[in-house]
């Protein structure tokens, strides 16, 4: 097992290294001078030239790349060209915001998706099954940025029951410790903040959860159907075990593997794919951080931002793989 983890981690290195290289090349191929962007339309030509020199943008690209790698080895993610702050210092709040949103979304997706899937499988061909599966099908086909806007319109503007944007009530801000606001409210005992923070999570969370929820529901349903047709569930039923018990204990345990894969995959997608959701809901997350950095040609932020997201994505997949063997000891690694 340890051996396997070690091997996987080793394999990671060339992938991440290759990524830095590709990102580095791509962003430097983007036309547009960061110095011009940073200083804006009103800046003079001398100011732009001076800034280019300070930022080291006059160096040949391979030297810049080498410098960047050298920094990475020592744990330095570079310094934002725009704010002149180390990326390491500024990235955490963004990352935390996105992780909180993604975890919330995946929780909604799993709780609703798995349960809907089980009930659908249980009452196969019932009205609930049909309704759930139709909704799931529509869910997978949903352009989530559109869904987000529609939800915002209906629930915030027309009905006025949920906040439109942001993470907190700005008039009564959350004191941050970890930057996971929900956690922070508990740590610092700001219990009255919990419902507020939750409410801010609802709209972006459900928008983000829609697709994984639909996929998980369908996946759970089909694997549940398979498992329920299997002999041992039939035997269990025949032995008169309580139905709910059978379903949740035996069947779910077998159905969980493919569902887990989906969760792992979707969690990764959520991390990076939240750009649109974060824009619509003004969520100060990593997707928007990187997206805006592209606009500002803030090379170190783009490079390191993507690197961090990719790293987390790969790690999640590793953890999911390891969970397989934990859940189902029959799966072995070589």
């Amino acid at each position: 097992m340890l051996h396997y983890v070690g091997k996987r981690l080793l394999q990671l290195i060339p992938v991440l290294l290759g990524m830095t290289f590709i990102v580095f090349l791509i962003i430097r191929a983007i036309p547009g001078d960061p110095a011009q962007v940073i200083l804006g339309q009103q800046a003079s030509a001398e100011a732009i030239k001076a800034l280019r020199t300070t930022l080291g943008l006059d160096e040949p690209w391979y030297i810049q790349y080498f410098e960047y790698l050298k920094g990475l080895v020592t744990g330095d993610l570079g310094e934002s060209l725009r704010t002149r702050t180390p990326v390491m210092d500024e990235i955490w709040p963004y990352l935390a915001a996105t992780i909180e949103l993604s975890v919330f979304a995946i929780l909604i997706a799993v709780i609703i998706g798995v349960n809907a899937g089980i009930i659908s499988a249980w009452f196969q061909n019932s009205w609930f099954d049909y309704a759930a599966m139709v909704i799931a099908l529509i869910g997978v086909s949903m352009p989530i940025f559109w869904l987000g806007l529609m939800n915002q319109w209906i629930f915030s503007i027309e009905l006025g029951i949920l906040p439109t944007t942001g993470r907190e009530n700005v008039r009564d801000p959350v004191d941050t410790v970890t930057n996971f606001y929900l956690l922070d409210t508990i740590i610092t005992g700001q219990f009255h903040q919990i419902p507020t923070v939750l409410k801010h999570l609802v709209l972006p969370g459900t928008a983000l959860a829609t697709i994984p929820m639909a996929i998980i529901a369908r996946m759970t349903r089909s694997s549940m159907l398979e498992v329920m047709r299997s002999d041992y569930v039939r035997t269990a039923r025949a032995k008169g075990m309580k139905m709910t018990w059978v379903v949740y204990k035996h069947a779910l345990k077998n159905a969980i593997i493919p569902v887990l894969t989906v969760i792992g995959l979707q969690m990764g997608l959520l991390l990076g794919g939240a750009i649109l959701t974060e824009t619509i809901f003004a969520w100060p997350g990593i997707g928007r951080y990187i997206y805006e950095a592209i606009g500002f040609r803030d090379y170190p932020v783009i490079q390191s931002g993507i690197l961090v997201v990719a790293f987390i994505f790969v790690m999640i997949n590793l953890v999911v793989d390891l969970l397989y063997s934990f859940i189902d000891p029959r799966i072995k690694y070589d």
């Binding site: 547009g32 001076a50 963004y94 915030s156 006025g160 439109t164 944007t165 008039r171 009564d172 507020t196």
Partner: protein, 540 residues
């Protein structure tokens, strides 16, 4: 039986979830909206104003930045020696209560306010002013970009206008200039030149921009990047009775519709960058009011004079006749703006109102094209701005309307767009046939429009059309050092005639940028420069 049990269980769950959600919702109303209103209504409670805007600040050290989103905040943390008027760019006393310029325009003597304190408790005095100017003059174009462009350079550089800044008393400062600079007072009124606490910037160095210390009405509290910047009332502010608010929170909401939605739901009190399209929504809402920012900008269609067929003034004039500017202003500025005929807005001293605008006349345009040998029209690329700017709320839509106008005179325009950075670069390189662009004045001076945008010195920089005219150049250089206002205005009047005739632009509009706020926001006066002092703003 069992089936039913599970079904009812599922039902129960659903009910539970929905009640829980409903519970949340009803809380919310009191939480995000109700509370706020109660707070504001009761004078004993702290007053918090949430200002929603399009982006985050870059740094809060005003001298190091060039972006409007930074100045919006620093304007309230720092004071300048002299101030602009409430809604114009006339010069009023600031930290300097009076000043006397010498006859030759080479010396300025400022008498400072006494008893002013920085937020860190240190005293504001002549030494502090000197320290600030020394810090700036000792920098370079990379550190302090606006200092260089407004005062011609740094330190011993040839172009540097300021020869010396000396404290001639505890509260008296003398500026010596190498040559007269007509807009000198307007320059030092710019937000960039806010006076900072010397103790603080010496101590913090590069980090000063993260925790700024000035003498302004509000002091810095907290910055959550890309989210909020919080400033709070400075109890020892030197102006009596100000500020009225206890806390101001600047919140970044980059998406226009998200910002409007936040305003409609009461999550923010004031929203910047309201699109003309949204003005109807705001006006239709009894709880909201609309604020107009007096126009100090120009939006135009630039015609690159080095590219065929725009190297021919006839073709450029034809474009001026072909475009129905009034219709564009009516539809995409919703009438919130004036059709432009000059490169400077009417509010600016030196505006030439005798110029007769090119009327919308497609027939005349066709004639001119025929004279230029282009009776069959031609094909061109039309650059459309990818981002909304205060001078043009929606570049792409304006481009679509222009495309239609041009089609009517037989010109086929293909709309192209690039990301903002690339867009500016390509335009600066002269790669565009015709491009939409605009300018917001920095200090309300004509030089800051005409010289910056149309003089041959600025080709490759802000003169995107590559327009060159020696006569114009001579006039503009003369105007820079002319201290007599009337003579100077004469020069600019002439300059505008030349530009009108040569037609390197199709001036489109002087837009009125819009803001919206709750009905309870009082005394908010939007400033034409785009950064607003909130000292006298109150919530009722």
């Amino acid at each position: 039986m069992r089936k039913n049990k599970i079904l009812s269980l599922a039902f129960l769950m659903l009910l539970l979830v929905s009640t829980a959600l409903y519970g949340c919702n009803s809380d919310n109303a009191s939480d995000d909206n109700g509370d706020a209103k109660e707070e504001n209504g009761d004078s004993g409670e702290p007053k918090t104003l949430i200002f929603g805007r399009g982006g985050d600040s870059v740094s809060l050290d005003p001298i190091t930045v060039t972006d409007g989103e930074s100045y919006k905040v620093t304007k309230n943390i720092f004071d300048t020696l002299v101030n602009f008027g409430e809604q114009d760019t006339e010069i009023h006393p600031g930290l300097a209560k009076e000043w006397t310029p010498a006859e030759d325009g080479l010396t300025y003597n400022f008498v400072l306010e006494e008893g002013v304190k920085f937020h860190d408790g240190t005293d504001f005095n002549a030494e502090a002013v000197v320290a600030n100017f020394e810090r700036w003059a000792g920098g370079d174009a990379d550190q302090f970009p606006y200092y260089g462009s407004m005062f011609g350079g740094f330190g011993d550089e040839e172009g540097h206008v300021i020869e010396s800044v000396t404290a001639v008393g505890d509260f008296e400062v003398e500026f010596k200039l190498k040559r007269p600079q007509a807009p000198f007072l307007k320059n030092i009124a710019m937000s960039s030149f806010g006076i900072a606490s010397p103790t603080a910037f010496e101590e913090m160095g590069d980090k000063f921009g993260d925790s700024p210390v000035g003498t302004g009405p509000f002091k810095f509290v907290e910055w959550k990047r890309n989210d909020t910047i919080t400033i709070e009332k400075f109890e020892d502010y030197w102006v009596d009775g100000e500020p009225k608010l206890d806390t101001v929170v600047f919140r970044s909401l980059p998406d226009n519709s998200a910002r409007l939605n936040a305003l409609l739901s009461g999550e923010i009190d004031l929203a910047d960058g309201i699109t003309p399209a949204d003005s109807a929504t705001v006006e239709g809402d009894d709880n909201l009011q609309l604020f107009e920012r007096p126009s100090m900008n120009v939006g135009y269609l630039g015609l690159t004079t080095t590219r065929e067929p725009f190297d021919d003034p006839k073709v450029r004039q034809a474009m001026n006749y072909a475009i129905d500017k009034q219709a564009i202003v009516d539809a995409f500025f919703e009438g919130r703006g004036d059709v432009a005929k000059n490169p400077i807005p009417p509010a600016i001293s030196g505006y030439n109102d005798d110029i007769e605008a090119y009327p919308y006349d497609p027939e005349k345009a066709k004639e001119l094209l025929a004279e230029a040998g282009l009776e069959d029209g031609f094909e061109m690329e039309l650059y459309a701005m990818p981002v909304p700017r205060p001078y043009m709320p929606d570049g792409e839509k304006v481009a679509e309307a222009i495309q239609k106008n041009l089609a009517d005179i037989g010109v086929t325009a293909e709309i192209v767009s690039y990301e903002w950075a690339t867009y500016l670069e390509k335009a600066a390189n002269g790669e565009a046939d015709a491009f939409l662009l605009g300018w917001t004045g920095d200090n309300g001076d004509a030089d800051n429009f005409i010289y910056v945008l149309l003089d041959q010195d600025n080709i490759g920089s802000n003169n995107y059309t590559y327009y060159e005219n020696q006569e114009l150049h001579d006039i503009l250089i003369e105007a820079q050092t002319e201290v007599d206002e009337d003579v100077r205005n004469e020069l600019y009047a002439k300059a505008q005639e030349i530009i009108h005739e040569d037609a390197p632009w199709v001036p489109l509009a002087h837009s009125t940028p819009l803001l919206a706020g709750g009905k309870n926001v009082v005394n908010f006066k939007a400033h034409p420069t785009g950064s607003d002092k909130l000292a006298s703003v109150d919530l009722e």
